[in-house]
């Protein structure tokens, strides 16, 4: 039982971080960023290169991941998403663009970082073992703690800084934000960069535990979509809840349903569909037309 709880908190905190960036981008620009998972993978590879290959301190490598992804996100928004949103008759067209970018980043990752699974040296060794009832390696506890810290920092940023307030205004109502004097183009770019940066940060954090390979991108995006749906699209608190709920569902499902092995995920998916059918806007989202 303790183990399930611990696994749930650990999975939930990392999932929530992945979902945060995605939902932020969605809230600001109504873009479902199919390339989110690829950004996460790039974040992992950047940290791998700096920390694992070149021996740069881990924290610095993390910063490099964030910076790389923030720049990448800003460029993508400025030169691809912004013009396409302006020029297309239906805003869903951005999905094609996002998918194209996902393919592109996948190709770049393959060419630059190769096809192999990569991992970095452990940041701390040792396993916390409480009478075999609760087993958790120390590095996981640290990463979990860092993830929660980042989430808190992000919420703080959104709540108490000028940028955060502008972003929230933008997410609420684009036109109104413009009337209030928010530089919509600029803050869209900042928001997108921030979302991409979050993906890079979580990629960098998790590379210490899960390692990284080029195949993780697509599935990560899909998982992030599910979390966002559970919580409600475009709602920050929803993404956090969605991440925690999916984390716990996996932890509980795997612990209790293991003897039915093959159908654990089937059940998770089906219950997700039923949940959304009953509550179409997720836990705390607004219906979207």
């Amino acid at each position: 039982m303790e183990q399930i709880l611990a696994n749930g908190v650990y999975l939930g905190s990392q999932y929530a971080m992945i979902a945060l960036g995605l939902t932020l981008i969605f809230a600001l620009m109504n873009v479902l960023n199919f390339a989110h998972g690829q950004m996460y993978v790039i974040g992992g590879f950047v940290t791998y290169t700096f920390y694992g290959q070149w021996g740069v301190p881990f924290v610095l490598a993390l910063v490099m991941s964030c910076v790389t992804l923030a720049i990448l996100g800003a460029l993508i928004e400025r030169y691809l998403f912004a013009p396409v949103i302006k020029g297309s008759a239906r805003e869903e067209s951005t999905m094609l663009l996002a998918a194209g970018i996902a393919f592109f980043l996948d190709a770049v990752i393959l060419l630059v970082f190769g096809e192999k699974q990569r991992g970095v040296p452990k940041i701390i060794d040792g396993v916390f073992n409480y009478d075999f009832k609760l087993i958790m390696p120390y590095d996981r506890i640290l990463i979990c703690f860092l993830a929660i810290l980042s989430i808190v920092a992000f919420i703080g940023l959104m709540q108490y800084t000028k940028t955060g307030r502008a972003l929230r205004a933008l997410a609420q109502d684009r036109t109104a934000a413009q009337l209030m004097g928010v530089n919509v183009d600029r803050y869209s770019m900042i928001g997108f960069a921030l979302g991409a940066m979050l993906a890079g940060l979580v990629g960098g954090l998790l590379v210490t535990i899960t390692g990284v390979n080029l195949g993780m991108g697509g599935p990560t995006s899909i998982k992030a979509f599910m979390m966002v749906m559970i919580g409600g699209a475009g709602v920050i608190s929803g993404a956090i809840w969605g991440g925690i709920i999916l984390g716990f569902m996996e932890a509980i499902g795997l612990a209790l349903l293991y003897q039915y092995g093959d159908i654990t995920y089937l059940l998770i998916f089906v219950s997700l569909m039923i949940f959304l059918a009953i509550r179409p806007q997720g836990l705390m989202g607004k219906p979207w037309g």
Partner: protein
């Protein structure tokens, strides 16, 4: 409007160049060997290790003056097609090979692709060497597929038998990804273990292919306290994570798999926790590698920057094709001649020390010789490299 016409012409240009390129006439002395497999996306590692070992070997042959079959000396050209692990694309790839006049193709890498290309291969007279285990691909009436490695239902029993005798292993647990290939391999492994009299204590835990954290997956398996944990059909990307999670959960027993792994990946992903991990590989451990294997690894590393131990197994298919053609030059265009030659073919194995032979096997598994005889080299991972545990033969 200007921009549009520009784009139109650019597109047309791209389309044309590629058309031209593909219809360019081949020189007489070029022998094309095909590869259809996955070289992008999550499973890219499987296909890339394949493709690169073929390309490295071909470059080596061409550099040293070509390959003599009968009276003609050929340059080897590898034609690769990325099927993106999609059986629909794999068919397209096989069609492309037929189009290029290729009769010998390595791949596909997975079960569904191997099954899907069968009609095309058979109707176009193509021998193909898949890395997929379903027996129906190799048993009559199928006759164009040749298993390119040792199947898990062949290596599994050998490993289990060894572990029972040497390590006193009595109970076993299986975990597999929830996907066709690993699940089929799990079934095969369970059958083999039961037949040997092992007690299977956990056989129904699966994980999603995209899992990144295996602790919750493995927790219930660990509760069954097996002596041996088998990672059925595990992909090289997942293996280190699984090992690490199992060890961190306090697992003391043996961990093994029947697929090829890469030592570098294990070292990075699991470090010392991977010590003692048993997997199946080719002949690149120092004890077994012939000078030719050593040179191959060198050339591969020079060409692509980094070696992949999965290529130890995958280097063989091309060698088999070329050696068999050498034994019967008429097989270059006639796969029926190839099939006849397969029954009697034998040549020294250049990659392995000792007197190992290249020949086609599979009589006991498939009822016909439709498998390359790769040495069944069982490796154990120890401090960053593989050591040979034992070598066996498949019949």
């Amino acid at each position: 409007m200007k921009r549009r016409s520009l784009m139109k012409s650019a597109l047309t240009a791209v389309a044309f160049t590629s058309l031209m390129a593909s219809t360019a006439l081949a020189e007489n002395t070029v022998l094309k060997i095909g590869f259809v497999g996955v070289t992008s996306g999550p499973a890219a590692s499987w296909g890339i290790s394949n493709q690169r070992s073929m390309e490295a070997r071909a470059a080596w042959i061409n550099e040293t003056g070509g390959y003599k079959i009968g009276d003609v000396t050929y340059d080897i050209e590898i034609v690769s097609f990325d099927d993106q692990k999609d059986p629909k694309r794999a068919i397209a790839g096989m069609e492309k090979m037929a189009q290029e006049g290729i009769h010998y193709v390595v791949g596909p890498n997975v079960d569904d692709g191997a099954a899907a290309v069968r009609p095309v291969a058979e109707s176009n007279g193509i021998m193909y060497f898949p890395y997929a285990f379903p027996k129906s691909l190799y048993e009559a009436p199928a006759s164009n597929a040749v298993l390119g490695m040792v199947a898990n239902y062949q290596s599994g029993p050998a490993i289990y038998k060894y572990l029972m005798a040497e390590k006193g292993v009595k109970t076993v647990a299986f975990v597999a990804a929830n996907e066709s290939d690993p699940l089929s391999q799990r079934t095969g492994g369970i059958e083999a273990a039961t037949a040997l009299g092992m007690e299977v204590v956990s056989d129904n835990v699966t994980y999603q292919v995209d899992t990144t954290d295996f602790t919750p997956v493995l927790t219930p398996v660990m509760r069954a306290q097996p002596d041996l944990l088998v990672l059925s059909g595990v992909s090289p990307a997942n293996a280190p994570q699984l090992i690490r999670s199992a060890r961190e959960l306090g697992f003391q027993g043996v961990i093994s798999t029947e697929t090829a792994q890469d030592a570098g990946v294990l070292a990075e992903g699991a470090g010392d926790l991977a010590n003692g991990f048993i997997s199946v590989g080719g002949a690149s451990t120092p004890e077994l590698s012939s000078p030719m294997m050593v040179e191959f690894v060198e050339r591969y590393t020079k060409m692509f920057g980094e070696y992949n131990d999965e290529s130890n197994t995958k280097v063989y298919a091309l060698e088999y094709i070329l050696e068999t053609l050498k034994a019967d030059p008429s097989a270059i265009t006639d796969v029926d001649a190839f099939k006849t030659t397969m029954d009697t073919f034998e040549a020294p194995n250049p990659y392995m020390n000792g007197d190992a032979k290249l020949r086609y096997v599979g009589m006991s598994s498939f009822g016909q010789r439709r498998q390359v005889s790769v040495p069944l080299v069982v490796n154990v991972y120890q401090n960053g490299a593989f050591e040979t545990l034992f070598v066996a033969e498949v019949d």
